[in-house]
């Protein structure tokens, strides 16, 4: 049964939301409210996965907008980046540790996340020692925040040369976190080629369904979510040796190319913001060229720089959900990267739940 058949006419109305991102914010709001009311009639047959968000900023403080989003989806669980781990002078070091700047986090189940750069494992660090340090560091943050998490998440885009070290790290971490649920992020290529990349020794995986395009390529249409690229990695009824949750993108950025090469990634940059930048002229869909030097998004851009604004469209996210259905898996949590003040400007507020329901629909 196709989606129109299942949701009736009202559900089809949602698909034209893909056009809204180019419209003014007031108009967007109206449309969002309108479609939200239409969507309330669309109910999935199976239980939808719980909607969760990543919180990736170093200072944890929820804005009113962020709180609204969380309340709208009855979000109970937040995946909070506690720290990054990188190498400096050959030593693994913690970076950008989270600081709880208000007490709003206490209303949620917090899943501590740790992002570890692949080069950390390329350096001659001892994986077991690192696991112990990270575990201790996480406990210090938990103590400071009076938190007792039951789930932890580790995020590393491991490669063939670092697989052994990363998995040793996970093995040791798992021992330390006995009694807790350990999850790890899985990239598309790791899902597709488990024989080559290995399956991490954890309890659950989170499939990161974004950042799949070639960010270096000035011709790339959308490096955040390119469902055509993703299609190459998925097959019908494909399986993975871990139960998976899914993570979808809800963010935007502007990529700046200089002298033919990627120069900067400007987080939270949008096409709308570029439209208001006098120094930039549109040269094609989502593409601009700097006519003179100017500051934009805390970057100093130069005349001649080529810019591409990227964000997933609603239609792309729907397609992504349909693609994910090909995997033989029961997704318990549908995560969105990431909770941010600017979400309302770019996405309908009920989109996460809509996507969760769509995933539950056979």
């Amino acid at each position: 049964m196709n989606i129109a058949g299942r949701f009736g006419k009202t559900c089809n109305a949602f698909s034209w939301l893909r056009y809204v991102t180019a419209m003014s914010s007031n108009y967007l709001l109206l449309i969002t409210i309108f479609t939200a009311s239409l969507l309330t009639g669309c109910q999935p047959e199976a239980a939808s996965p719980a909607v969760s968000f990543y919180y990736w900023k170093s200072a944890f403080k929820l804005s009113p907008t962020e709180r609204e989003w969380l309340e709208a989806h009855k979000v109970e669980r937040l995946y909070v980046k506690y720290l990054d781990v990188d190498v400096e002078n050959g030593q693994a070091v913690p970076k950008a540790p989270v600081r709880f700047a208000d007490s709003t986090y206490k209303n949620f189940e917090i899943v501590p996340c740790v992002f570890i750069t692949n080069r950390t494992f390329q350096a001659a660090v001892n994986p077991e020692d690192l696991a112990e340090r990270v575990w201790k560091y996480l406990q210090e943050i938990n103590t400071a925040g009076h938190l007792s998490p039951t789930v932890y998440q580790l995020d590393c885009d491991w490669s063939p040369s670092t697989q052994a070290a990363y998995f040793r790290f996970l093995d040791r971490f798992r021992q330390l976190a006995e009694g807790h649920t350990l999850t790890a992020t899985i990239r598309l290529h790791q899902l597709r080629y488990p024989e080559q990349t290995g399956v991490p020794p954890v309890d659950r995986g989170v499939l990161m369904y974004y950042n799949m395009g070639d960010v270096q390529n000035v011709e790339e249409p959308n490096s955040i979510l390119n469902t055509q690229t993703a299609a190459h990695y998925l097959t019908t009824d494909m399986q993975y040796d871990l139960p998976l949750d899914y993570a979808l993108p809800m963010f935007s950025w502007v990529l700046a190319y200089r002298l033919g090469e990627l120069h900067a990634i400007i987080n939270q940059g949008t096409c709308q913001k570029l439209d208001t930048l006098a120094a930039a002229a549109a040269i094609g869909p989502n593409r601009y060229r700097m006519q003179q030097n100017a500051y934009f998004g805390n970057h100093y851009l130069n005349r001649g720089d080529q810019l591409r604004c990227e964000a997933p469209t609603v239609a792309d996210l729907e397609t992504a959900i349909d693609q994910l259905k090909q995997i033989d898996n029961h997704c318990e949590h549908l995560l969105f990267y990431h909770l941010d003040e600017n979400l309302s400007n770019a996405f309908p507020k009920n989109l996460p739940q809509h996507l969760a329901d769509r995933l539950a629909t056979p």
């Binding site: 913690p94 210090e140 002298l259 100093y300 130069n302 001649g304």
Partner: protein, 779 residues
């Protein structure tokens, strides 16, 4: 073609350049730690040290102003205050907690209290006042220092609020009490920091305004205070004022330039405008553009235009232009990586630019337009000649570049060096015909003098010189002069020795023996053989120098001849023709066998041979063996040819080095194997046959190793992978390798040994001592 017509004139110019002022050339090219690019436009040659931190680097880890530069300035200010010299090392330890030999176990507090001023002539009041200040400053570190435990979330414990308040109070009292202005300012600095680090930003700002702002004479510590003040202003949202104060610190206080440079990190139009508004004069505005234009992530052209508008042809303008040119070089001439020099030459031959895409060409074109304007407006400034000429060169306009550079005549001072190397590069890029001897002589002189390289080191950080050498090597390769191409590509004798080939050595000898070398050829040979003498000494007596090179290569040739037993007599004759210094005593007797290999072991049976006497003996034995089919002699030949390979203890006879990572030099055990076969064939008793059979098995095993390594993915190989000693705890690998040997037929001698010689005493001994045989038999 203009370029072709004028190509000869470049040599006149080059000769002219060389005749003027080359004696003064001394500085090397830039230090480029990561060797990213060829750099002809050497900023170190053009600008004073003061600006060195702004010079372009392609290495992300060596950003500009990466070194904190204040320790010495602070130390000097203390010494000035003391009026009498104080031992520097303990003072350095007190101020910076530096590791100082002899003071490792002395705390800084103890140093201040009892050792620092011991025996000094500094007045007692100054001593006492200094002690009090230094002790309080050490206490402040508990409040101000960064966490020392990297993996501690809460970091190093800071002072409790009560202790911090007490410290602030004591600082206030000390400030009030202090009479020496030098120390008073320092107490004020500590108090400012104490306010800041206890979260009292407003108090800190007010204190700065009250104490430091009115000071007419600002000393070093006042600018340090200003550095903090600027940061506090940013913290409270007064960004324009904050950035302006960083600008002032950058301008006035070299000891805080590093900090101020990175803190001047404007990221919005509003902040830029607000800071600009604070500037008191065009120079300050130009400085803003200079700092921004030299940031790693910025293209500097627009800021250059602004500097030009504000200050005219100022040095800052030239520095930014030099950076932009270096940037073009870095990103387009990185021929060590993915782009071989041939690709560059192809582009040049097709009349294209040296730049990799249209965006670069467009930017280089804009830079050229700017440089051309500056060139016509400042004809007496040699910098713009170079900038214009080099940008034309990068854009592929070689004839125009040549005219620009030649028409200027011999430029002044350091500009002349760059002019010379640019003209040389133009010549080599454009000249397809073979270089004449006269041209080669000029080039040789330039390689020595232009690059201040009298030892012909070549493989230095003078990567601009290497660019010229790469171009030369390419041209020689194109002309079919493979030896010169190899030498100009920096092949050296030691690398030839590592893995020589007969044809390679023969062609080298032919090159050495050819009559009437050009000076470039001699220079290349000098570099090839090493750098024991200067170029001038080398070229003074080329025949003597060539003779030494010839002997070296003949020695390699002799060792190569030895690989073929039929050539042993020829090798003997060749070694005998060399000076006695080429002979050497042997450490081990190559005729001896051992059940287990040990390359570096000291064998109890010391050798009485020298290399030459041994080779003569080897040739004799070979002849006798062939005439008599003597099994003993074949066995000894087998031992010698096994021991002289990479795997044997006498490897030095045939090889100069023994690699720790791969098989190199002579490693072919098939020669030894053939002798062991004959030893077995003619053996007259089973004991000696068993012994030869076992040795044949050893040789066969090494043949398998060599074959396996050749077929193996190199990433999967590690040194001595096949050696059993390294397999402790790794039986699967051992079984796997032995299994492969079995399947591929490389255990045939073990099989024969077991089947035919099991009853011999030698077999019983071998099975006890040799784990491989033991394993084979046990399966």
């Amino acid at each position: 073609m203009l370029f072709r017509k004028t190509s000869h004139s470049i040599w006149l110019t080059a000769s002219l350049l060389l005749s003027v002022g080359v004696q003064s050339l001394s500085a090397c090219g830039p230090y480029e730690d990561s060797y990213h690019y060829f750099n002809l436009f050497v900023p170190e040659w053009l600008f004073s040290d003061e600006y060195e931190p702004t010079f372009y680097t392609a290495d992300d880890y060596y950003h500009i102003w990466a070194e904190a530069d204040y320790p010495d300035a602070n130390l000097q200010s203390w010494q000035q205050f003391f009026e009498q010299p104080l031992k520097e090392e303990p003072l350095r330890k007190v101020l910076y907690d530096s590791w100082i030999e002899g003071y490792e176990n002395v705390s800084r507090e103890v140093l201040v209290k009892s050792l620092l001023f011991e025996g000094s002539l500094i007045s007692i009041p100054r001593q006492e006042a200094s002690k009090q200040y230094l002790l309080l400053a050490l206490e402040m570190e508990a409040l101000a220092n960064r966490p020392t435990d990297t993996w501690g979330y809460q970091g190093q414990e800071k002072l409790s609020p009560e202790a911090a308040a007490d410290l602030i109070q004591r600082l206030k009292e000390a400030l009030e009490r202090e009479k020496f202005p030098f120390l008073k300012n320092r107490y004020a600095f500590q108090l400012l920091k104490a306010y800041r680090y206890t979260g009292q930003a407003q108090e800190a700002i007010q204190f700065y305004k009250k104490y430091f702002a009115p000071l007419k004479q600002k000393d070093l510590i006042s600018y340090w205070a200003m550095d903090h003040y600027a940061g506090l202003l940013l913290q409270t949202g007064a960004n324009g004022e904050g950035y302006y104060h960083f600008l002032k610190v950058f301008e006035q206080a070299p000891s805080r330039r590093h900090s101020a440079y990175y803190s001047f990190n404007i990221s919005t139009e509003e902040d830029w405008a607000a800071t600009y508004k604070q500037c008191q004069n065009p120079k300050e505005k130009a400085l803003m553009h200079f700092i921004r234009g030299t940031r790693q992530e910025v293209l500097g052209l627009e800021d250059m235009r602004s500097i030009f508008g504000l200050m005219g042809n100022h040095e800052w303008l030239r520095i930014v232009m030099a950076r932009e040119i270096n940037k073009l070089e870095s990103n387009n001439l990185s021929y060590y990586g993915q782009q071989p020099i041939a690709q560059l030459m192809q582009r040049v031959d097709q009349g294209q630019s040296l730049l990799k895409n249209e965006e670069y060409e467009d930017y280089a074109g804009q830079l050229l337009r700017f440089a051309t304007t500056a060139y016509y407006n400042n004809r007496d400034d040699s910098f713009w000649v170079l900038a214009k000429g080099y940008l034309e060169l990068l854009l592929g306009r070689l004839p125009t570049a040549q005219i620009t550079l030649e028409q200027a005549g011999a430029l002044d001072g350091p500009h002349q060096r760059i002019q010379g190397e640019l003209l040389l590069a133009i010549q080599l890029l454009g000249q397809e015909e073979t270089l004449s001897k006269e041209q080669e002589n000029t080039i040789a002189l330039q390689l020595v003098e232009l690059f201040a390289d009298p030892m012909a080191n070549w493989s230095t950080q003078q990567n601009n010189q290497e660019f010229i050498l790469e171009l030369l090597a390419y041209r020689k390769r194109q002309a079919g002069e493979s030896i010169m191409a190899r030498l100009l590509a920096r092949e050296v004798l030691s690398s030839t020795k590592t893995d020589p080939t007969e044809s390679g050595v023969d062609s080298l000898l032919a090159f050495i023996n050819k009559p009437a070398h050009s000076e470039l050829e001699l220079l290349a040979l000098k570099h090839f053989t090493g750098n024991e003498s200067t170029w001038s000494a080398f070229v003074r007596n080329p025949e003597a120098a060539l003779s030494a090179v010839r002997y070296d290569v003949l020695d390699i040739k002799g060792r190569l001849l030895m690989r073929d037993p039929e050539q042993l007599e020829a090798a003997v004759a060749l070694f005998d023709s060399l000076p006695a210094s080429y002979d050497f005593p042997l450490k081990v007797n190559p005729f001896n066998m051992s059940i287990n290999d040990c390359v570096h072991c000291a064998y109890s049976t010391a050798a009485s041979f020298t290399r030459n006497t041994f080779v003569r003996k080897l040739a004799e034995i070979y002849q006798i063996a062939q005439e008599t089919n003597s099994p003993t002699d074949y066995y000894l030949l087998g031992n010698a040819y096994y021991n002289m390979t990479y795997f044997g203890p006498a490897y030095e006879i045939m090889n100069y080095y023994r690699s720790g990572v791969s098989y190199e030099g002579f490693y072919d055990c098939r020669v030894a194997l053939s002798f062991y076969d004959k030893a077995m064939k003619y053996a007259q008793d089973t004991e000696s046959a068993a012994q030869a059979c076992f040795m044949a098995a050893k040789a066969q095993q090494k043949v398998f190793y060599v074959k396996s390594l050749a077929e193996m993915d190199q990433a999967d190989y590690w040194y001595d992978k096949f050696i059993m000693d390294d397999w402790s705890g790794s039986t699967p690998n051992f079984e796997q390798v032995m299994g492969k040997m079995q399947v591929q037929g490389y255990l045939s001698y073990f099989k024969r040994l077991e089947e035919q010689y099991r009853q011999t005493r030698f077999f019983q001994r071998a099975i006890r001592e040799c784990n491989y045989l033991n394993y084979y038999v046990s399966q």
